[in-house]
Amino acid sequence: MNASLPGPLNDNPNLDRWVAFPSAGKVTVLTGRVELGQGVLTAMAQIAADELDVAMERITIRSGDTEKAPNEGYTAGSQSIQFGGVALRQALAEVRALFLDQAAKVLACKVSELSVRDGSIYRNGKSTGQDYWTLAGAVDLAIKATGAAARKAVGDLTTIGASSARLDLPAKVFGESAFIHDMQIDGMVHARVVRQPNRGATIGSVDENAIRRAAKGPVEFVRNGNFLAILGDTETAVEAAGAAAVNRVIWQNVEAPTPTQQEANWLLQRPALDRPFGAEPADPKGRERFERTYTRGYLAHASISPSCGLALYKDGQLTVWTHCQGVYPLRAALAKTLKLEPTSIVVHHMQGSGCYGHNGADDAAADAAIIAMQKPGQPIRVRWRREEEFIYEPKTPAMVVKVRALLDEAGKPSDWTQEIWSPTHNQRPGAGGNLLGALALPDPPPEPPPNDVPEANGGGATRNGEPLYDIPAKRMLHHLVTEAPVRTSALRGLGATSNVFALECCIDELAEHAGQDPVQYRLSITADARARAVIEKVAGMAKWKAGSAGGTGRGRGIAFARYKNRAAYSAVVVELSVDEAITLHHVWCATDAGLVVNPDGVINQLEGGIIQSASWVLKEQVRFDNGVASFDWETYPVLTFSEVPEIDIELINTKDEVPLGVGEVTAGPTAAAIGNAVSHALGARIRDLPLTRERIMAALLKE
C-alpha cells in the first residue's frame, strides 16, 4: 500500500501492467478502462503520448483484458480520466524516469542533460542514438511504482489539452468489423436464450416442434435447470426460433409488473431500508416551510444494439468476449456462477454500442459462458433480440424526491432536507453475482442483501442529493426500497438526475417565491468560485435577461450541478416553447472539468449527455402492463433528429491541475433546466417526469 499513488496504480503497482515496448518504435499502453463510445482510449493514448514524449501513432492501446490489462474495476461513474488517467500518467512518468536513468548510465552523463523527443533520447539537445527501444532490454518494468517521479507540469503538456481525433471512429465510418457483434470465430454457433421471466419462474412446457417449424432451419435445444437456449449454425434460424419461443415455452410462477407499479409514487408505501445522512432535523419554529415533491419513472438504457457475448470453453479454460464495463468483476461473477477458478477464465473486452451504464452486456456474456460450458470446444455467440434487451436489461429505478426547506427572512434556505425513495442503482455482477442467466440455473445465487452504491463512491439514489449551495444545515433521508417490480441498476448519472432535477427545480421555485431572478438567486447562495463561474458563464452565453416575462409559451430555464459534488461543474440554460408538446430550441452549457485531455471529446460527451437527458425528460418512461410493455422503439420512443436543439458548449478552467469526470455531469442540469424553462413558458410547474402531453395539459388546466 502506497498512499502517495493514485488509486488504480496503487491497486496495480507493477509498471509492466501499464506499458510495454514490444518492438522498435512501438508502444503498447494497457488500461483497465474500456471504450464505450465515450472516446476514453483516445484520451489514454494522448496521456501516454504526453507523459512518454512519443507520437500518438506509435501507441497501441490494449484495454479491458484480464490477461494483461490492469484491474480498474468498472469503467463507470465518470472516473476514467479523473482516476484511471491520472494513474496512467503517474505510471508512465515513472517509466520515463527509469529510461532516463538507464540512458544516463549508458551515456555516462547526468539525467538533467537528457530529454526525450518522440521516444529518442537527446543530450543537451543533440541526438544520442539511444531511444526507448534500444534501452528497453536493460530497463526492468516488472517493478512497483514508487510515486517518486513527477508527472509533467500542466504548462509542459502538449498532447493533453489538444483536441485529438477519435482512434476508433474511422473503422465505424468505413463500416469495418468494429463491434463484438461483427466478431467471427471458426466453428462459431449462434444462440438465443429463452428468458426466464423472473427469479423463481420455472419451465412448464416447451413446444419444441412449433419452435423448430418457426426456425425454418436446424436448431438444437440446450437446457440446464430453467436456463434454456436454442443453438444453430444459421443466425436467421435461431433468431426466428428465439422469437417463436417467447410464446411456445410456458412458464410457471410468473410475476409480471403491473401499470400501478410503473409510477414512481408506488414506491412510497413499500418496504424500505431507511438511511439518514447529515445534520439533525432543525426546529422549524418561526421559520417559513417550503415543501415540494418531484418524481420520475423507470428508464431504459435503450442501447442501439442489443447485447452480445461470445464464449469458448476448451481444455479447462473459459474465454469470454464481452462489451461490459468491467472485465474483472465479470470474471469474478462468472467464476462464482460456473464454479470455476477465476484463473481458468479470461475475459476480453470488445466494443459494443453505447451502454450508458449497466445494460444487458454482462448478462449476454454470461449466457454465452453458460452455454459454452455445456458445449466444450464449440465457440458460442449469443446476441439478444431487441425485445429481450428492452425487457430484460436492468432499468434505472423510478424515484420520488421530496425537498423540505426552512427559509430565512430573505427567503433563502437555511435548512434543507432531501428525502429520497428509490430502489437500488447497483445490481452489477460484482455486487452479488447478479447475472440474469445464473438465476435460471439449478442452483441460483441467493438474492443479494439490499444495498446501493456507497456514499464514499458517490452514492446511488443519494448521488447529488445534497445541494452544493451554502445552506447552514443539510440532510438526506434515503428510503432504499427493497422490492422493485423489475431489476434495477446503474444508468448514466444514477440518482443524480432525479436529485438535481428536484433540487434545482426547487431552487427556481424558491427564487420565484423570493421574487428574485433564478441566476441571481443561485449566485446569492453560492460562494464556491467554480460554481459561480459556470453559472455566470452560461448566463452570459445565453444572454440571460433577469425578469423576462413568463407564461408566454416560450421560456428559459437554468440549472447547475457539480456531479457527485466532486467531479465536473456544469451549468445549463435551455430555451424552449410549449404548446401541447415541448419544442427545444437552444441549449447553452458551461462546464469546468478541470484539466481537459481531449477538448472535443469532452464537448462530445457533454452534448451527448444533454441530448440523452432531454430525451429522458421529454419522452421516456418504461411502461408495465402484465410485464414490461416498452419493448421496441415504438413503445419506447427516444428523441429524433428533428427534435434535438441547437447546442453551444464552452469549457472553462481547462488548465487546472486536476481533471474532473465529465461523462455524466450534464444529465441533471439539463433535466432541471428543461423543467424550469417549461415552468417559465407555461407559468405552471410540472414536477413529474417525463413531461408528457397529459401532464402539460393538466398543468395548464390547473392554472
Binding site: I304, V638, L639
Partner: protein, 161 residues
C-alpha cells in the same frame, strides 16, 4: 428447397443460395457475404442501423427478404468509400468527429447519401427529416447534421469544378 438468385453489392455481382426464403437481406450481407458494416439494431425496421441503398433508394434490410433484391443494385456503407478513398460524407463525419459509439453511423451515412443524391443542398430541417428513420442514442445528432452539410458543400463544389 434451396433458392438461388443474383444481385449486385457495391458494384460486384454476387449469387446466393438460401434454404430459407425468409432470410433477411441483412443476414445475407453479414453472414453470407461478410459485409459487417450494415448493423443489426432491432430486426423491426425501426432504428435504421441496417439501412442500405436498393437501386438508389434507402431501405432498412433487417426484415426484407433477400430474394426481393434479385437483379437489383445494393449499396452498403462499405460501398461508399474506404480509408484510402473516403466518400465526402465519410471524410466529413471524421472531420466533425460525428459519432460516439458509432453503431448507428453506417445506416446514417446511407440515409445521408440517399438525401444528397436527391437534394444536393438540403436545409438543416430537411437533413433532420431525412434522418428521422435513424436512431442515435449517444446524442451525436448535431455533429452528424453538421457533417452532412459540410459533405454536401464539398460534393457541390466538386460537381461545379
Amino acid at each position: 428447397m434451396s433458392q438461388s438468385f443474383a444481385f449486385t453489392v457495391n458494384g460486384k455481382a454476387v449469387s446466393v443460395s438460401l434454404d430459407n426464403e425468409e432470410t433477411p437481406l441483412l443476414d445475407v450481407l453479414r453472414n453470407e457475404l461478410g459485409l459487417m458494416g450494415t448493423r443489426f439494431g432491432c430486426g423491426l425496421e425501426q432504428c435504421g442501423c441496417c439501412m442500405v441503398l436498393i437501386d438508389g433508394a434507402p431501405e432498412k434490410c433487417c426484415t426484407k427478404p433477400a430474394w426481393s433484391v434479385a437483379g437489383k443494385q445494393v449499396v452498403t456503407v462499405e460501398g461508399l468509400g474506404n480509408a484510402a478513398r473516403p466518400h465526402p460524407l465519410q471524410k466529413a463525419f471524421l472531420d466533425e468527429q460525428a459519432g460516439q459509439c458509432g453503431y448507428c453511423l453506417s445506416g446514417i451515412l446511407i440515409s445521408a447519401k440517399a438525401l444528397l443524391d436527391k437534394n444536393p443542398k438540403p436545409s438543416r430541417v430537411e437533413i433532420a427529416r431525412a434522418l428521422d428513420g435513424n436512431i442515435c442514442r449517444c446524442g451525436s445528432h448535431n455533429r452528424i447534421m453538421r457533417a452532412i452539410e459540410k459533405a454536401a458543400a464539398v460534393i457541390r463544389a466538386g460537381a461545379a469544378g
